[in-house]
């Protein structure tokens, strides 16, 4: 096992990883920017090292700073958290070249699955069901148009290097395809320095389901069940639930098998997810893989009793999986809400500012992952996530009541600060959500026709 791990991330996830390190007796070094020097992760760390100014490009996204920090603090491994460099194959290679273990899959697996167009090509090769569309990237506008016509509208044009809902366009009218194609390519170059795009059929109303997998270096792969991530705003998840409500156990089992097969085919190592969309007719399509720990991992931890960060570290250290598939028996229902500093009534724009009051909820089976405390300034340099509230209960009805109770207790205030807490409670109360009939379209439906 490692003696020292460098945590190359910030916010709640830095704290999350740090806590498991401490429980395992591993020394944790927190790499931080100047903006994060007064945060709990830095205070709780066994050692901290300042790696750069607030701008991510010069700190959390700077491979040289992170590798130098790891080497000079004697870290043997780097935990990248999520976002930032967590799915960057070049960074994974640099770590390897410097004798550092990056906690995650090998560089070539990240390169193949992290890039959305090559992931699509991989899925076709691995015989995973994919939405109609191009078999990989498509450069010629005429060919792209033919593919779109064949798939049937609406279609979506997405950047291969994209993520977080950026550089993607939904096209409903064939006449709008060519201008949209050109615009998406231009945007992809501007945002990611990479103009490759691909085309696939777009589902207006779909369920977004992902499967959590664990794979060791010895070829063993298991899945830890599925999560429903259909509640999204601006194509980013806000509420996640496991098991996916209203989905037959058989369907979840089938998704699990598909994900395990995909992970085996890819030579996956570590914790990761394979994401699928389900259409109204029960059709299942692979959309992408995430080569990292996910924001919503706590709900899987709550129903399985498995600490995913601990598993990541054991796998990275070369251990065999401690669980066989039959040992994984999820129990009960868990729900997570992402509490963001944002204004739901102004298209969810972030509202940075000083937090003056911060009292998270407590109570039975209620977990709050947060880095926020009174007098912390939420800056525009990073994402507006304030806290993740996760609750567990034996049944879905109880879990919904528990989450509403927990969100109702949450006190967050500060000048200019706005949170999505009331909005989250509105979603919980929405009939479509209560009856598990919601799709990825729910938030848009709510915003265009708010409840009386």
């Amino acid at each position: 096992m490692f003696n020292t791990i460098l945590i190359a991330n910030r916010g709640e996830i830095a704290l999350r990883v740090l806590r498991t390190c401490r429980e395992m007796g591993i020394r944790a070094v927190v790499a931080h920017s100047t903006a994060d020097r007064d945060t709990p992760a830095v205070r709780l760390a066994d050692e901290s090292i300042q790696i750069g100014p607030p701008q991510p490009k010069r700190s959390y996204l700077n491979p040289a700073a992170i590798v130098a920090a790891a080497l000079q603090t004697g870290a043997e491994a780097i935990h990248p958290g999520y976002g930032f460099l967590s799915e960057n194959p070049e960074f994974a290679e640099i770590c390897q070249a410097h004798g550092l273990t990056l906690i995650g899959p090998p560089p070539e697996v990240i390169a193949r699955l992290g890039d959305k167009s090559s992931a699509r090509a991989f899925a076709i090769e691995a015989r995973l069901p994919v939405l109609p569309g191009s078999s990989g990237e498509v450069a010629d506008p005429g060919e792209a148009k033919r593919i779109a016509d064949e798939a049937g509208y609406p279609v979506v044009i997405k950047a291969a290097a994209g993520g977080g809902g950026r550089a993607m366009r939904v096209v409903r009218d064939p006449r709008e395809f060519l201008p949209a194609f050109t615009a998406t390519r231009r945007e992809a170059v501007a945002l990611f320095g990479d103009g490759r795009v691909y085309v696939e059929k777009y589902l207006d109303a779909a369920r977004h389901i992902e499967v959590q997998v664990l794979a060791d270096r010895h070829g063993d792969v298991i899945h830890l069940g599925a999560r429903d991530c259909s509640i999204q705003r601006r194509r980013q998840k806000v509420i996640e639930e496991t098991p996916p409500p209203g989905l037959p156990e058989k369907a979840i089992e089938r998704l699990g098998e598909l994900a395990v097969r995909a992970a085996r085919t890819a030579g996956y190592v570590g914790a990761g997810t394979f994401e699928f969309v389900l259409d109204e007719d029960g059709g299942v399509y692979f959309i992408e893989a995430n080569c990292r720990l996910q924001v919503e991992h706590p709900i899987t931890e709550m129903v399985t009793g498995i600490d995913l960060v601990r598993e990541q570290l054991l796998i990275a250290a070369g251990r065999r999986l401690g669980h066989a598939q039959p040992d994984v028996v999820p129990y009960g229902v868990a729900l997570e809400c992402r509490v963001n500093a944002e204004d739901p009534f102004r298209n969810f724009v972030p509202t940075p500012g000083l937090v003056t009051e911060f009292t998270p909820p407590g109570g039975p089976f209620t977990r709050v992952d947060t880095h926020v405390e009174p007098n912390l300034r939420i800056t525009a340099d990073y994402d507006p996530l304030l806290a993740k509230v996760a609750v567990w209960a034996p049944t879905r009805d109880e879990v919904l009541a528990r989450m509403d109770r927990a969100l109702g207790e949450f006190r967050i205030a500060g000048p200019g600060l706005c949170t999505n807490l009331p909005f989250l409670r509105d979603v919980l109360a929405h009939p479509l959500f209560r009856h598990a009939k919601h799709t990825t379209a729910l938030v848009d439906q709510m915003m265009s026709a708010p409840l009386p």
Binding site: V42, A45, S48, I49, Q50, G52, P53, A65, A69
Partner: protein
């Protein structure tokens, strides 16, 4: 102590007669520091906080003035962080383990004692006061290893007392085998060299104190 509140480290050439015994055990070091603090504590308020870092030997001592029993101003935290002598190489973050209230900004007068340079690299003789109004601190623009000379055995780029021109190289920071030159942005005299040759540095860590006004 003439000023109400003192804060700083100590060096070989500080006010005190000598260093603690080499290789001193923690309790010996503590006894020595307690004695040293008592010696300095003439006329000032009660001792308020001592922070010790062994590794690179940095000591911070803080006194409260009789009229200053109340907590130090909150702004002091940031001020201390910007003060080169508050930096403790290799130590936990200054805002980390220290249970005491944040230290106040350094006084205008001479500080209680000077920071010990890592590796004993500071030359003999009185160490100029970095808190003086005209001091400019050159800080590390990146994480890496600081080198004072172009290669082992070569003369350092600068020594204390040297005049530097704008754009003149004062050291190197090596990160991932890339040698990044560190340049002075303005002219001045080298007042203090805060980091020893071959020392790992963090982003923003003060390296050298420059005195732009001292051109004589």
């Amino acid at each position: 102590m003439s000023q109400g509140m003192g804060q700083g480290g100590m060096s070989q050439d500080g006010l005190h007669g000598g260093l603690p015994p080499a290789g001193a055990r923690p309790e010996e070091l503590l006894a020595w520091i307690a004695g040293y603090a008592a010696e300095l504590n003439t006329g000032a308020g009660p001792l308020r906080r001592i922070a010790i870092t062994s590794g690179a030997t940095a000591v911070e001592v803080e006194w409260a003035t009789p009229e200053q029993a109340a907590p130090a101003p909150a702004a002091g935290d940031r001020a201390a962080a910007a003060d080169p002598r508050a930096w403790q190489p290799g130590a936990p973050h200054p805002n980390g383990a220290a249970p005491a209230p944040p230290p106040a900004p350094p006084p205008a007068g001479p500080p209680a004692a000077q920071q010990a340079a890592p590796n004993g690299d500071t030359p003999a003789g009185p160490v100029p006061d970095a808190a003086a109004e005209d001091a400019v601190v050159i800080s590390a623009p990146m994480v890496g290893t600081f080198y004072r000379a172009p290669e082992p055995g070569a003369p350092p780029y600068v020594e204390v007392g040297d005049m530097v021109e704008p754009g003149q190289q004062i050291g190197i920071i090596e990160a991932m085998k890339l040698m990044n030159p560190i340049l002075a942005e303005q002219a001045g005299r080298v007042g203090e060299i805060l980091v020893g040759d071959g020392t790992p540095v963090e982003y923003g860590q003060p390296l050298i104190v420059l005195r732009p006004g001292d051109t004589q």
